[in-house]
């Protein structure tokens, strides 16, 4: 039933895009395509972080330190990428490792020492903000060479033999061969010729959804967040599952922070600016499922992409007001949803084995 719903939504979206591509005026098509591209770009780090946080939350740990972990991941991805001569793949591994360390500290405090998750989470954010700002000031004078991830078309072009068939080299760079299709070609190219990480991210999120709901490991994670004592009597190691989930959420928030930096290709102090918290909101808005979190992130991302849309249309509005939109949408979404979704019963409750 649920899977059918997803399929129907997918078909409708594809049909709508095709119809718009075929019949809408050129102007509208361009604006819409860039809006979708912007939305995907903004939503990606949110969705990746949120998918990781879903695992932490499902296991009963509210990771309010997500913002800090994301920020740490961002800084060290930036440094790491520069260290490896601008290689984003190796750089982002450095970033993920750094946030993993923060997650390990967080996990030790809230799981082993059973400290209050809210207090520790908030202090992780303060710690990370201070740490990253300090390190940033030390390294800021050095020259940092950053390259982002390649786009789908760039990557396809490199495939020997097939590259020339799949892509076209034009004045504005490599484009998908799709661009040659009359009417809808360039529309589809703008939407699909994205940063490769967007495709990897979406596949990862679908995979994580499968892991959470269809595998033995996912069942354990969900069970531990509901009734850890029962899991204990069933021979499940509650601490192991919680550590695993928290570390995994740290890994993915770090990845999210890295994506953010590689997208704008620079680091500034507090570059995350609350995105970790928006990711937590996406977890709740997305009903504690990875795919739901992706949907929620697209809504939040859309709220931000609207700014560009408004500018493109030429509407004059104060930019500060525009910047508020995503946060307002977050508040409204949460106010409407909190209390209506099932929160894992053991959320934020430390577990003591007798």
């Amino acid at each position: 039933m649920k899977q059918k719903k997803g399929l129907i939504i997918g078909v409708i979206v594809v049909l709508a895009l095709l119809l718009i591509g075929l019949f809408a005026p050129e102007n509208f098509k361009n604006t819409l395509a860039s809006f979708i591209a912007q939305d995907l770009r903004i939503a990606l780090p949110l969705a990746i972080a949120a998918a990781g946080l879903v695992f932490g939350e499902r296991s009963g740990v509210l990771n309010l330190g997500a913002e800090g972990m994301m920020l740490t991941g961002a800084l060290f991805t930036w440094i790491g990428t520069a260290m490896f001569a601008g290689n984003p793949w190796l750089g982002i591994l450095v970033g993920m490792f750094s946030s993993l360390l923060i997650a390990l500290l967080f996990g030790f405090l809230v799981i082993t020492l059973r400290s209050n998750q809210t207090v520790i989470g908030v202090s992780m954010n303060i710690l990370a903000l201070g740490l990253t700002s300090t390190i940033y000031r030390v390294v800021q004078s050095m020259e940092m060479k950053i390259t982002g991830f390649p786009s789908l078309s760039d990557l396809l072009a490199k495939i020997p033999g097939l590259g020339d068939v799949l892509t076209n080299k034009t004045a504005i760079g490599t484009q998908l061969a799709l661009v040659d299709i009359p009417r809808i070609g360039s529309f589809l190219d703008t939407i699909f010729s994205q940063n490769i990480m967007i495709y990897i991210g979406i596949i990862l999120i679908i995979f994580l959804n499968f892991v959470l709901f269809k595998t033995d490991l996912g069942l354990k994670v969900r069970a531990v967040g509901e009734y850890p004592k029962a899991c204990d009597t069933m021979g499940i190691n509650v601490y192991k599952i919680r550590y695993g989930s928290v570390l995994f959420s740290g890994l993915l928030t770090g990845l999210a922070g890295g994506l953010l930096v590689l997208d704008i290709k620079t680091f500034v102090e507090n570059v995350t600016a609350g995105k970790g918290f928006i990711a937590i909101a996406a977890v709740i808005f997305g009903k504690y499922t990875p795919i739901g979190a992706l949907g929620a992130s697209l809504v939040f991302g859309g709220a931000q992409a609207v700014q560009y849309l408004i500018q493109a249309i030429g509407l004059k509005a104060p930019s500060d007001l525009m910047n508020m939109i995503p946060y307002i949408v977050t508040i409204v979404a949460l106010a409407g949803f909190i209390g209506k979704t099932h929160v894992p019963a053991a959320s934020t409750k430390p577990y003591t084995k007798e």
Partner: protein, 499 residues
């Protein structure tokens, strides 16, 4: 037959408490073996050792003749030992089949719920149990959840099944069903350890009985030829009077009148409740826990809002009055949860004694507490109600459960009430303390007081009450007079059926 389980000289030392003191337990294969004892006698400790939740300080466990060391529940399950805990170890937000396979070592990485569900349904059919494997556990009734727990243990290969107070949450009919299943399991050669403090049930279903007292095991006895009185004596260590002497039933005028009362709320809210309690009578409220008993007490004592209807106490309309105004009507309340509502654990006995009357003369005057009088009053109550405490300066939380309840009882009954509301007054108490609390309640009735007794222990209601009202999902299913007390009929009403 050979014993399936032998626990020899088990000792478990907790800091400051010797919970098991050289306990011996031998269970024959294919039998139903009762483990009885008062609270704190060491039953749970012993079973938690067997299930791998605690490590024994010393002692030996033989299973099927071989010595085994159980260090975790996982081990216990691998050896074929299953346990159905008093508080079910099921996860409400998951489906039945997800609960069944949770943590099973044979699970594939990607779960094969479909084939597990088929096998599980087939197993249920063998015991005449119809279970929807994809239903959420939170949607199941308590009795069904218990059946899922039992089946789960068997599905995972239990040969020896520990049932911890399994009848506490069931209606009499469900108890009969459970006993049928237990007998069928026995016929199939499974062994059951049945933990209970209900004498009658143990004598009905069990083959052998082992009693624990103060951490020590008494020699096992066969249930055939043993009487209730003998068992009670083994548990308490002295003669116990199981029946309560009551004066003649002589009801006077109305003390409480509920007139079509409704409350708001989703779970167990009152739904058109009407009844009255007269002077000199005990009205018992029977029903499975969570069927509106809490809302009933909260509505009468002013702790929750009545949305429709009226409540009269001694003829005065007290609907939605403040709790203090209601208590001022000489109403005493012995709450169900003494830790949450009955007393403040972190305050001394004498302070707990004045929680209700502290603002009144002679306990205080002009905003200052009169400690001399308070202490004298506390000493008197401690003596009258036989509270065992080192002094009235002792923290209430440090007393035993029975003595804590006596503190609450003493405070409430020393206020010379006209109307006593007693919710589960003996929950968690041993036979000795139970006997005393019951005597006190009957004494109030004989003095001409009205008593509302809420209890999920049907036997308690049957012995004490003059009339019984049965609650189901916030409604009163019916009120029975003493001559109509019939356990089958009450059981039907507890399950929501009324012909």
């Amino acid at each position: 037959m050979a014993p399936i389980l032998e626990m020899k000289n088990i000792v478990k030392q907790f800091p400051g408490v010797l919970a098991n003191d050289n306990v011996n337990l031998t269970v024959e294969k294919g039998s139903i073996h009762a483990l009885m004892g008062e609270n704190g006698a060491g039953k749970s400790t012993l079973m938690n050792i067997l299930y791998g939740l605690y490590a024994p300080s010393s002692g030996q466990i033989l299973f099927n003749g071989k010595e085994i060391h159980i260090t975790s529940p996982k081990h216990a399950i691998e050896h074929g030992i299953g346990m159905v805990h008093q508080h079910f170890m099921l996860i409400p937000a998951l489906s039945v089949i997800e609960n069944v396979v949770l943590g099973k070592p044979e699970n594939k990485k990607v779960l094969e719920l479909k084939s597990d569900a088929e096998a599980f349904v087939a197993l249920g059919a063998r015991y005449n149990m119809k279970i929807d494997p994809y239903a959420l556990v939170s949607d199941l009734a308590v009795g069904q959840q218990q059946r899922v727990e039992i089946l789960k243990s068997i599905y995972r290969g239990a040969e020896l099944l520990i049932l911890d107070e399994p009848t506490a949450v069931l209606t009499p009919q469900e108890v009969t069903e459970l006993f049928k299943i237990m007998n069928q399991l026995k016929e199939e050669g499974k062994t059951i350890i049945f933990i209970s403090h209900k004498l009658k049930e143990v004598l009905t279903i069990c083959d052998t009985i082992t009693v624990l007292r103060l951490g020590k095991s008494q020699p096992s006895v066969p249930s055939a030829g043993t009487t209730k009185e003998e068992l009670a004596e083994m548990m308490v260590g002295r003669k116990v009077f199981l029946n309560v002497d009551k004066g003649p039933y002589n009801p006077g005028e109305n003390v409480l009148r509920m007139d079509h009362v409704f409350t708001k709320g989703t779970h167990g809210a009152l739904n058109d409740v009407s009844f009255e309690i007269k002077k000199g009578e005990i009205l018992g409220i029977a029903g499975v826990d969570g069927n509106g008993q809490d809302a009933l007490i909260d509505a009468i004592t002013g702790l929750c809002k009545v949305s429709e209807g009226k409540i009269f106490i001694k003829g005065n309309d007290m609907t939605n009055s403040s709790p203090r105004d209601i208590l001022e009507q000489k109403v005493s309340h012995i709450p169900a949860d003494r830790h949450k509502r009955g007393m403040v654990s972190a305050m001394t006995v004498k302070e707990n004694m004045i929680l209700i009357s502290y603002y009144k003369k002679p306990f205080s005057s002009g905003g200052f507490l009169n400690w001399k009088f308070i202490e004298k009053n506390a000493e008197e109550i401690v003596e009258t109600f036989r509270v065992k405490t080192p002094s009235i300066e002792e923290m209430s939380g440090k007393l035993s459960g029975g003595n804590q309840q006596k503190v609450v009882l003493g405070r409430e009954l020393s206020r010379d009430p006209d109307f006593v509301i007693a919710a589960h007054p003996v929950r968690g108490l041993d036979i000795g303390a139970t006997e005393y609390v019951h005597e006190c309640l009957v004494a109030e009735r004989d003095k001409g007081g009205a008593v509302l007794l809420v209890s999920t222990e049907l036997d308690e209601v049957l012995t004490l009450a003059d009339r019984i009202a049965v609650m189901y999902e916030g409604r009163i299913m019916g009120i029975l007079d003493k001559e109509d007390f019939d356990i089958t009929r009450i059981g039907m009403m507890m399950a929501g059926q009324n012909q």
